[in-house]
Structures are given as structure tokens and as C-alpha cells.
Symmetry: C2
Subunit: 488 residues, 2 copies
């Protein structure tokens, strides 16, 4: 592959080489593995397992997502902070459940400058234990609460399962919000706010999901309870794309995060966290991509529009000038545009940008110029239209909005279609996707259902679904419904 | 200290507590150590030496600097990428000078998930050895060149000298540009561009500097030559705030970064790098701060203006409304404003924001309202003026520009004043600051001059200063002038 793994495709015509790697989504795993690299979202050739390079194009997508997350967090009163990567072993070990949960996954720094360190240091797998000793200094009085912070960092987990770009890596680009509150109720309000933020972000990213309360045995190490957003990939497996945890005072006690209330009494803070990662990209790629490549929602695409001049000798200068004018006009209404000047065939450009998932392609040639028109091609539907030059600004904005809305609608339908409601677990045999089934609450019934279909419980809905039926295993009447699936 | 280390000062009135720590710049080291923490730029209480926490206020300053750097780099055709933190020992060791230069300073990851790793991994001290194996895959043809990339990451150096916030830390927030070129000449053009970028950034950050070519024995490990920007702190010591390196093909050979030229011949690329770090903040704090706190240039201040309502019972609602209107007006012309609503005395607010270095304070009380006026106080000069309410938008923009310009002018004068030109090295005895002296080019003469005054050679100017004199040590006639100083 001679492609430069950067923001724009190689300057040379590499269509023939790229076409050697076929993209056939009917073999999902193979397709995914190829498409993330072919589209320049990632480069998996870095010589350490599970650690990939972000080429410019992929990093732009991630930064757009980071920006959307940051805007949501700042507008809800969170402040961005930045904590050190390294955590000392003794500080890490203070909350016993937490260390048990992560001990198998951490990278240890044992030496520096040729010497062995007195105290071993670990790379943050998540930042509770980096932040909370400092929170105990920041939080003193009830007037310091709520403390609402977040950071965007890379985290490190020595995951031994098979690695996969974005969805299972050992260096994980991560968003984590950490908050402190006066009491459990105020922390619960934070979780309600997090759910709203997640909903807004889900719409912007075109990512539909199930928001479920994880069963007790699968909650985050140290949490009082855990909520998780699961989306469903085309192969029927679920992918966890976000988590929200209520810690109660489980961490504030060992880390001594106390405040003086209005009556002068000292109390432990209640805490929450909210996290998401580069998995969001993996989900978007998986759900919307096709045999031509990835399809990016306009809200996160590095370029919302690519403009391809159709050049013939006679009118070259004219068409070039018009393209530049058109680009500037679109930029003036807030559309991000890339004008593809490369000296290669238009067909190769089409191929490249389809592979990379640019939502909308505009073509402008001598004939369009003569007729006062522009050709517009949607990446999601492939639909090709000719529009009047003078309406192009409004039309492009409208089409981008429509792509955003219609992708989300497709995704929501796919999620809905992937859910199989069954009365008894036997009925779920042979079905792919999510299994929705009554559960009496007995761990033993869960266990048997899981074993029968080699699935796991994702959890129970956080909104009352008005379920009334029977346990899928033992048949006892129940109003609890549980969701099961094979997970990534 | 009950202050919350975040974006805004604590909600409680902590002026009395803060005043306990005096800020007296005549003792520069003590003053610096206190002011960086009192102003909430950093929190040094993280339990690992040399690794500090970025509270929200400090992180906002850093992100503003990152943004300015990113804008410059993107506008000159660089693309932002993001490479892994970890580098394997064998890949790191390929360029022998480079590993010799950093071997004493790296952190080693030896274990993960309870097991010893087959290959030791190190935390990037800088990213040459992370990037260049991948560059060798990205660069194939002359059409892939120039390759111009940059990243903004944290780097890790186990520096054994005494740590100091921003200027000597072990986790360093870092900008690094890496480029590949067809030949030496094209790489030289890149260095010329870097010098221009540095000049523009220096103006935006109000940071004057000397741009010097480091002597051969002090160049970056692996470089063909190194240029460095040194600024001078008020105690007369220099601080290196930026470096630009010409690598020639020193790295492309061991890392096999080759391209096919137009004639079909395979050639090694020529490379350059350009780096800066959080030291920029340390320099700004050191140069401009005073006994009241730090002074931030408007271009990087988290808030350019703080608006303090002077509330008296009778007109509370009126003043509050007017303040909100004023804030919105200023935001509409691109000024970042913080309206300080806290229920504490105005004097405490003045104190807090002066400590944090907000360039301009606006006060609005009932009397101002009556007279149709606003009170304006400059942080840099302390000057207090009353301006007509209807002129406030234009006036604020103008004053901010003036602060920016006058800070830079002061800094430039300070730099100029700190340079002592001497004919013989003996004359430099007892002088603080930079020594500018003729040098015959003999390492031995340099050595003796360094020993005599316990100073180091910073280097020689990159622009011909038309010097004609004698070597400060041996007296031989020379047209080479060298700069010496004690360095941070």
C-alpha cells in the first residue's frame, strides 16, 4: 500500500492497490478489520500489540467526538482537568474491590533511569485512584460541592483477549467524568444529568443504544451500581459504548473525601463517574459502514463535503475558480469542505472519499457550469442529484441534516430489529442479537439461561417497561425483564 | 487552604487564608514556587515527584497555548496525529546517539497483568522512535513528501535535578512536529518555516527569546544540528522554551525511511523536528508575574475580562442585569468574559483575579450605572479608568490589544537588558544574565570561559550579527560571537 496514512488520501492514484482488499460486510469481522485501516481511521502496524497509531484522518474524527463530549460537559458545569498518568501502587490499592478488578490488567513501571523504583508505579487503567487523593484536598466544605470534573486521556489495560481496532485495544482514548456530591440524592441527580447528556450525544453520533443497569456481579469494581449503554453490531453482538457509575461513598471513605456541612459536621462525599471511549468510533463504523467503506455522520466527519472538480482542458481555470468560490461559500455557512485538487481521475477520488465515509460529494464540471448546476451525491444512499447553483448553500445544509437524521433512524431500526423478546429461553435458540426475557431474580436461573445459549446478562432496563410475564428459565411470574447477548 | 483547585476560585471567601502565603518576587525561586500554585495554574500535591495535577484554570491556559500552536501548524500544512505512548526497547535502540542521550532518563514498563513482559517497553521521552518505524511505511514515493505531522502529548523523563512546576517536571505536556523531506535543502526550508512559526507564536505568547545554534556538544541526541529558543528569567537564568532540529538522514537510515524519486532511485528522507512544552507557561509566569500574582497575556488567558458587580441592596437586580448584558456584549465581539457572581466582598474578588492574572477587570456598580459608565482596571499596570458605557466594546478590545503589545515590549526590553556584551570574559564577573562574548571556535577556550563563571554556552546566533572582535578567552581576533548563561 503506498497510501500516506494521513488526513488526505495519497497524492498518487492508488485505487488499483486499494481495490485488492475487498470489503464484503457479509463477513463482518474480516470487513471491519479491513475497513478501519483502508479508510485511514487507524494504522495497526505499530509494533506493540493492541496499540495503534492514529493517522490524521482518524484523529480528526476522534477530536470531533472529544469536542462534542467536551461541549456537553462544559455546558452542564463540568470543568476539564488533567491528572498524571502514573499512580503509585499503594495509592491504587486503597479501595479493595477496585484493585481486585484491575490487578490483572495493569502495566507496571518498575525502573527509571537505570534504577529500580522504590515504589512501583502503574499506568492509569482509569483515573479514580489518581484523582481521589487530590479530591480529598479540593473538597473541604459543602460550598465546594458539587465538584464536577472530566478529562480526556489515554488509558492502559493489558487485555488478554484478541485485540480489535477501537473496540478492544490496550491503549484506549478515553473520556472520564468524575463528580463529588453532598449526598446520595445529589449524586443520583448527577446520574440523571449524565443520562440526558448520553441521550444528546447518542443523537449527535447517530448511535442508538440500550441503557441497562448491569447485574450486581458485573458492576464496575468499587461501584454501588453501574449503568451501561450497549449498542448492537451487525453480527448481533453487543458493544458497551458508555458507562455511568454510582459510587455512593465507596471511594470517598478509603480516599478520605470529606466535607463540612452547614451544621459543621464532617461527612463523606458521594461520587459518580461517566465514561466513554474510542469504542464510539468502532460502533459507528460497524453499524453504518458498507461494502464501499465507512459512513460517517456529518457531526463527526473530518470533512462533511468533498468537492471534486471535473476538469477538461478547455475550461480548467474556470472550473477551478468556481470550485474555490463554492468551497468558500459552504465554509461561510459552517460546512467543512475539502476541495480535492489531486491530479488523478475523478473516479479514483470518488472511490477514496467513499471509502473514508465523507457524507456528501459535490461534483462540478464544465457542463454543470454551463447549466448553472452542481451534482450532489450522498454517501449513505448513493443518491445522485443535480441542484441549482444558487440554492447550493441551503441545499447542502439541508441534505447534511437529512443524512444525520436518516442514519440515526436506520440505526434505531436496526437496534429494534435486533431485540428478540421470548417467553421461555428455549425459544431464543438460534436467534442472533439481543434476547429480552423475563427473569425471576434468581442468580441460578440467570446462570442456566446464560449457559444454554452462551450469552451474558447485559442487565435490566432503567425505565419501567411495564413487563409482566414469566421467568424464561423457571416459569415463575415476574415483572422483571432482562436483556442478554453475546458481547464484544 | 480551602480553595477548590478548579476553574474558578472557591465559592467561599478565602482571601485571608491565601494572604498567609506572601508573594515577594525579590526572592524569585520562592515566589515562583508559591505563585504557580496560589494562582491555580498547577497543583503540586500529587504523590509522585515531578508529576503535577493540572487544575481547570491551568489546563485552560495550556489548552489555549496548544490551540495557538495547532492553528499555526495546520495553517502551514502540518497534520495532527497521535502515536502510542509505549516504545519497545529494541525499536528505541536503533539510533545509537539517541539512546545514549535518553537512556538515563526513561521509565521502563517491565510487567503487565502480573507477568513479566518479553520485551521491555518505555514511556516516550520524545516520539522519534515511536513515529519513524511507521513513517517508513507511510513514505514510499517522492509524492508522499514532504510529510508534515505534529502531536500534542505528555512525555516522560526521569530527570534527577530538582523539580519545578512547568520548567522541570517528569511528566511534560509537549508539542512535537516531525517532518520528512526529499533532501537536505527541503528540510532546511522547513526549519526556516519553523523559525517563522516560532516568531509568530512568541508574539502571541508575549515571549521574547534568543534563537541560537547550540554548540555541537550540546545538540539533541541524534541531530545534525540543533537550534534553541532561550528566554531569560528575572533571576538572570535562561530557560530553553523551544527547539528545532535538523536530523539530515541520521534517523531515516536506521529507521529505513526511504522514497523513490522521479528517476526511480531509492533515497533516504531528510528529517526535522520542532518541539515546545509547558515550559512556555513557566516562562510567562516568571517574566511577567508580580507581587500580586501572575499576569497572563490576553491571547492565552482563560478569561480576558472578569466582570465584578458592585452590589448594594437597593439596586441589586438592576446591576446584575446590566452586568449580564455587558458580558453578552463583550462575548459578541470575541472577548472571553467571566462574570463573578460569588457572594463575597468585591475586594476578595479583585484579589483572587489579580492572583490568577486576568488581564482586565471591569467593575459595575450603582454609581457607574447612574452615570452610564464602567470602571476598568488593567492587571499589568494597575491603571484604573472610567469609560463611557456605550464605548465599552471597542475600548475593551483596544485595551486588550494594548496589554498584549505592552507586555511583549516590556519582555523584549528585559531580554535586551539582560544581555551583557563583554570583550574579555573577566569583565563578565559578577554580572547576571546572558554574557555575549567573542569566541575563537576552540573548545578549550569555551571550556575555560565556562569554568571561570560557572556558565554554559547557549550557542551562536543564527542571524549574522556582524560581530568583529576578539575571543573572550585567548584574545584571538574572531567574527564569531557566543552567548553564555546559567540555565534553568
Amino acid at each position: 500500500m503506498t497510501t500516506m496514512n494521513t488526513d488526505q488520501p495519497a497524492k498518487t492514484d492508488t485505487i488499483e492497490e486499494k481495490m485488492k482488499v475487498s470489503l464484503d460486510k457479509s463477513d463482518f469481522n474480516e470487513w471491519y478489520s479491513n475497513v478501519v485501516e483502508q479508510s485511514n481511521l487507524t494504522d495497526k502496524r505499530y509494533p506493540i500489540k493492541g496499540m495503534n497509531v492514529w493517522p490524521a484522518y482518524g484523529w480528526k474524527v476522534m477530536k470531533n467526538i472529544d469536542r462534542l463530549i467536551g461541549e456537553e460537559l462544559v455546558s452542564t458545569g463540568h470543568e476539564e482537568v488533567h491528572f498524571p498518568l502514573l499512580i503509585s501502587e499503594e495509592v491504587f490499592a486503597k479501595e479493595s474491590e477496585h484493585i481486585k478488578g484491575f490487578d490483572d490488567e495493569v502495566y507496571w513501571v518498575t525502573h527509571a533511569g537505570g534504577e529500580e523504583l522504590d515504589v512501583k508505579l502503574l499506568l492509569r487503567p482509569t483515573s479514580e485512584t489518581a484523582m481521589y487523593p487530590i479530591f480529598s484536598l479540593w473538597v473541604r466544605s459543602h460550598t465546594d460541592l458539587p465538584l464536577k470534573t472530566f478529562q480526556l486521556v489515554d488509558t492502559y489495560r493489558y487485555d488478554t483477549k484478541q485485540t480489535r481496532a477501537f473496540t478492544r485495544v490496550r491503549e484506549i482514548h478515553f473520556f472520564e467524568a468524575h463528580t463529588c456530591h453532598a449526598d446520595f440524592e445529589d449524586a443520583e441527580k448527577q446520574i440523571a444529568e449524565d443520562l440526558e447528556i448520553m441521550e444528546r450525544l447518542g443523537k449527535k453520533l447517530c448511535l442508538p443504544y440500550l441503557m441497562l443497569k448491569r447485574p450486581d456481579w458485573d458492576k464496575f469494581p468499587g461501584a454501588f451500581y453501574s449503568l451501561a449503554a450497549d449498542t448492537v453490531m451487525p453480527n448481533g453482538k453487543t458493544l458497551q459504548i458508555g458507562t455511568i457509575h454510582q459510587y455512593r461513598d465507596n471511594f470517598s471513605k478509603p480516599y478520605d473525601i470529606k466535607y463540612e456541612d452547614t451544621a459543621g459536621e464532617h461527612k463523606f462525599a458521594h461520587q459518580t463517574t461517566y465514561g466513554m471511549s474510542e469504542r464510539l468510533i468502532g460502533a459507528i463504523v460497524g453499524i453504518y459502514g458498507d461494502n464501499k467503506g465507512v459512513i460517517l455522520p456529518p457531526a463527526i466527519a473530518p470533512y462533511q463535503v468533498v468537492l471534486v472538480p471535473i476538469l477538461v482542458k478547455k475550461s480548467k481555470a474556470e472550473v477551478s475558480d468556481s470550485c474555490q468560490k463554492l468551497r468558500d461559500e459552504l465554509i461561510s455557512v459552517g460546512v467543512s469542505v475539502h476541495l480535492d485538487h489531486r491530479d488523478i481521475r475523478p473516479g479514483s477520488k470518488f472511490y477514496d472519499w467513499e471509502l473514508r465515509g465523507v457524507p456528501l460529494r459535490l461534483e462540478l464540471g464544465p457542463r454543470d457550469l454551463e447549466r448553472g448546476e452542481v451534482t450532489v451525491v450522498r454517501r449513505d444512499t448513493g443518491e445522485r442529484n443535480v441542484i441549482k447553483r444558487e440554492t447550493v448553500k441551503a441545499a447542502v445544509v439541508e441534505i447534511l441534516n437529512d443524512i444525520q437524521a436518516s442514519l440515526l433512524k436506520i440505526g434505531e431500526q436496526m437496534l429494534e430489529d435486533s431485540i428478540n423478546t421470548v417467553d421461555a429461553i428455549d425459544e431464543a435458540k438460534g436467534k442472533t442479537g439481543v434476547i429480552r426475557v423475563g427473569w425471576c431474580g434468581e442468580p441460578d436461573c440467570d446462570d442456566q439461561m446464560c449457559k444454554l445459549l452462551e450469552i451474558n446478562m447485559l442487565g435490566t432496563p432503567i425505565i419501567d417497561e411495564g413487563y409482566s410475564g414469566n421467568c424464561g428459565q423457571c416459569g415463575k411470574p415476574t415483572t422483571t425483564v432482562a436483556y442478554y447477548a453475546k458481547s464484544f
